[in-house]
């Protein structure tokens, strides 16, 4: 193990190298570009042994990974925002075909207008494609998540998207422990090296089916996705034993009897955590790391406790006509509790900076009559 000061994007590349991905294909986009630049440097320097395939668009990048994964290769792509949106058709396909592809996504706002600030609406608008989704809060967590994602993808036979805030994490330098290859090999065994096409047993996969077969496949995939909650639990515990770092599906930090709990995902959790460790605060933080499948039971257990009176969900994303997307999922998870907490929303979509001052103001501010969302712009 060596400790290095690296960015979130470099952490992705380190994770891909250590996972011995066999095929990497991507197209540059801000703020993801340095993921591919770092992998290209590693490839040129002989550190990364997989195929590095430059393509002309994100659609082709994921298409290449789909082909590679069909042939049994461990495949990876990286993107952000408009690039992710451009992949959309194949994002569905990869999940339907049960291909264990791993993709990293640096969360960035989607136009119009053009904007490169951090916003989670890009990946959250792929919510219903069937990909498993993780949201990271530190550079170390990004590196570890890539390695865990391959293990998770190959165990569940489902693709995994590893998300992290553009700039706030993609371009932030901080210390990260880079594990030794042999340690990673024990956690994530090398993929089998087999020929792409078996000429003696040719196959045609995923041709046309009727409604009953389609319905059956969807129900089977639903069960496989639900089973991920237990698989994830096992994988994160094994990872913690081997590497000493714990990345549970939901993370609770703060006093055990806190009456107010702030809920968020991604890098903002660290701002909240640091804010709450200051003098005179009594609130707690609940960070949602696993978004699909949604760990509703884990969240109910924390937020449904009798002492929790108030929940504030901080969303850096928005679903027009509904509100923050994590907030909606949290409210659904709390549905049916006899005496659930009051849930309010703080929205910082568009990449607004969540500062300790803004947090303090948001916690004190009374919501304007008739408004269900506290828009951060009104607190600046």
């Amino acid at each position: 193990m060596t400790e290095k000061i690296i960015t979130g994007n470099q952490a992705v590349a380190q994770g891909v190298r250590l996972s011995r991905a066999q095929v990497v294909s991507a197209y540059p986009i801000t703020p993801q570009t340095t993921v591919m630049e770092t992998l290209a440097e590693m490839w040129a320097g002989g550190e990364f042994g997989g195929d590095f395939v430059a393509v002309e668009s994100e659609y082709s990048a994921l298409g290449y990974c789909v082909g590679a994964a069909y042939a049994g290769a461990r495949a990876f792509t990286a993107t952000s925002s408009h690039g992710l949106a451009y992949m959309h058709e194949l994002i569905h396909w990869a999940a339907g075909a049960r291909l264990p592809i791993v993709m990293s996504n640096a969360n960035r706002a989607i136009g119009a207008p053009w904007c490169i600030e951090s916003d989670q609406t890009d990946s959250l608008s792929q919510r219903d494609t069937g990909w498993l989704q993780l949201y990271c809060s530190s550079v170390q967590e990004i590196l570890d998540s890539i390695i865990m994602a391959f293990r998770l993808a190959e165990t569940a036979r489902l693709p995994v998207m590893v998300n992290y805030d553009g700039f706030y994490l993609s371009h932030t330098y901080e210390a990260a422990a880079i594990p030794e290859q042999k340690e990673v090999d024990l956690f994530l065994p090398s993929p089998p090296d087999r020929p792409a096409i078996d000429l003696d047993a040719p196959e045609n996969r995923h041709g046309l089916v009727g409604s009953e077969a389609m319905h059956r496949l969807l129900s089977v995939r639903y069960q496989a996705t639900e089973a991920v909650l237990a698989i994830y639990e096992e994988i994160y515990r094994e990872f913690a034993l081997r590497f000493g770092r714990r990345w549970p599906a939901v993370e609770y930090a703060g006093p055990p009897g806190a009456q107010t709990v702030l809920v968020t995902a991604g890098g903002m959790a660290q701002t909240v955590k640091s804010f709450l460790s200051g003098p005179g605060r009594g609130e707690a933080l609940l960070r949602i790391r696993l978004f699909r499948p949604f760990p509703a039971d884990g969240i109910r257990k924390v937020l449904g406790a009798p002492h929790v009176a108030r929940v504030v969900v901080i969303d850096r994303n928005v679903s027009m006509g509904v509100g923050g997307i994590f907030a909606q999922e949290v409210k659904a998870a709390l549905q049916g509790l006899p005496k659930g907490p009051q849930v309010s929303e703080l929205n910082v979509s568009g990449g607004l900076d969540l500062s300790p001052d803004l947090l303090a103001r948001a916690l004190e501010a009374q919501r304007p009559e008739g408004e269900k969302i506290n828009w951060a712009v009104n607190l600046l």
């Binding site: 000061i5 490169i116 901080e174 660290q270 804010f275 460790s277």
Partner: protein
């Protein structure tokens, strides 16, 4: 220069092409070598030479640090006294510290008129030019500023900084190391009597 919760927050202001983000990372690495927790990042729109760039550095005793821009810095570093003054000085804590690259003491004084913080000045452009860094008229000053910054902030020693620079700078390494040492040696606190000049 440490605030109550053991965290020092530094904001660097410069222009695209001056190596501001590199400087933020180098100071963070130097502090990390001494066992401190660090975080460093920059903000910029589309990357353009000459456009204002801001970088943020946090150095602390504990891993918990906010992950947001620094709006109330303990230390501000200005690579250029022609940067928008209000933006550069915004939120600088009373009792905080400004490190300014400025050839004239008089200009430095007018830049931070009405101050409630310490001001340290050096002619980083002159020092860089003397060490042959950058091209004629466009000196590259980031290593000079780094030398001065370790001295005034105390977040890392000069030795740690020089070790980091040796590792990270592949070309003109010798000149850059000497320039950092010169920045360390030549930075001076702006004295009150300068106002009378």
């Amino acid at each position: 220069m440490v605030n109550t919760n053991g965290l020092v927050e530094i904001r660097l202001h410069g222009r695209g092409g001056q190596g501001v983000v590199f400087a933020g990372t180098a100071i963070a690495e130097a502090a990390h070598r001494e066992g401190k927790y660090v975080q460093s990042f920059g903000i910029y729109g589309a990357e353009r030479r000459g456009a204002p760039v801001t970088a943020f550095v946090r150095v602390g005793d504990r891993p918990e640090m906010p992950r947001c821009q620094i709006q109330r810095p303990d230390i501000v570093v200005a690579f250029d006294a022609k940067l928008p003054r209000e933006q550069v000085l915004k939120g600088l804590k009373p009792g905080g510290l400004l490190l300014l690259n400025c050839a004239s003491e008089k200009d430095a004084w007018s830049f931070c008129n009405g101050r409630s913080f310490e001001v340290w000045r050096l002619d980083a452009s002159g020092i860089a030019a003397r060490h042959g860094l950058g091209s004629v008229g466009i000196p590259i000053i980031n290593t000079v500023m780094l030398g001065a910054l370790v001295r005034v902030s105390g977040v890392a020693t000069l030795d740690s900084l020089l070790a980091v620079l040796k590792e990270k700078i592949p070309r003109n390494t010798g000149q850059n190391l000497m320039a950092a040492e010169a920045g360390f040696a030549e930075v001076r606190e702006l004295e009150c009597y300068a106002a009378a000049l």
